[in-house]
């Protein structure tokens, strides 16, 4: 699964730390998601989508083989 968190973050001009604080997770988690090393839970994906004001599908995209 891919995601556009890094892009969305750049649009909003916020750091990993800011994003982490806003949704109540650690900075490691944001970093791991941006590097596609961690697939977040549904709750976390929904929180991220709500923060960016987009649909979950616009931020998290399935890849071949998923």
């Amino acid at each position: 699964m891919k995601n556009t968190i890094r892009v969305e973050r750049a649009i909003k001009n916020i750091t990993q730390e800011d994003l982490a604080n806003k949704i109540g997770v650690s900075r490691q988690t944001i970093n791991a998601m941006e590097l596609n090393k961690y697939v977040p839970s549904t709750v976390l994906s929904l929180k991220i989508a709500r923060l960016f004001g987009k649909k979950v599908e616009e931020i998290f995209i399935l890849e071949k083989g998923d």
Partner: protein, 165 residues
């Protein structure tokens, strides 16, 4: 009987509601490390056969064929062992500042990793070491599981903080 079942049921419901993860609060981690580091240094010091203070006292001992009896024993090693175990438990099983789902995943993975490595080492110990060497390594083995976990968990946490694309 039914009362006990009911208590278990209620406790379980309560624990589920609290989303418990059986971890100590974050400040226990600091307490753990503050005890662990000096205790490990003293452990190392005593492994090299350096003299320890003599703490001979009368202790209650459970002797398998005879039952309870009072014996004289130097309790320095008992104190060290208990302190090492409590300190490693505190350092390993306390919440991070922000304990989220990714950290929990690393925690579980590291525990599994530590179990495999620990038992791998135990097999090597069983096959290649005999008599007192075997027993000595078995004593260290009491602590290696959690120490391996601590190493792996903190290494992965550190790495995931500093990795960049």
């Amino acid at each position: 009987m039914y009362n006990i079942l009911y208590i278990c049921f209620v406790t379980n419901k309560y624990l589920n509601k609290m989303k418990t993860n059986f971890l100590f609060p974050n400040y226990f981690k600091k307490i753990g490390w503050v005890i662990l580091i000096p205790v490990l240094l003293i452990d190392l010091y005593s492994w090299f056969g350096c003299p320890m203070p003599d703490l001979n006292v009368t202790v209650l001992s459970v002797c398998i064929p005879h039952g309870f009896q009072f014996i004289q024993n130097d309790i320095a090693d008992e104190i060290l062992t208990v302190l090492t175990i409590i300190a490693t438990i505190f350092a390993a099983c306390s919440k991070e500042k922000i304990e989220d789902e990714f950290i929990s995943k690393i925690r579980l993975e590291s525990l599994l990793w530590a179990v495999y490595i620990n038992y791998g080492l135990l097999i090597i110990n069983t096959i290649f070491f005999y008599d007192t060497d075997f027993l000595n390594i078995m004593i260290y083995n009491m602590f290696t599981l959690l120490l391996l976990f601590l190493l792996r968990f903190n290494y992965v946490l550190y790495k995931s903080k500093n990795l960049s694309a």
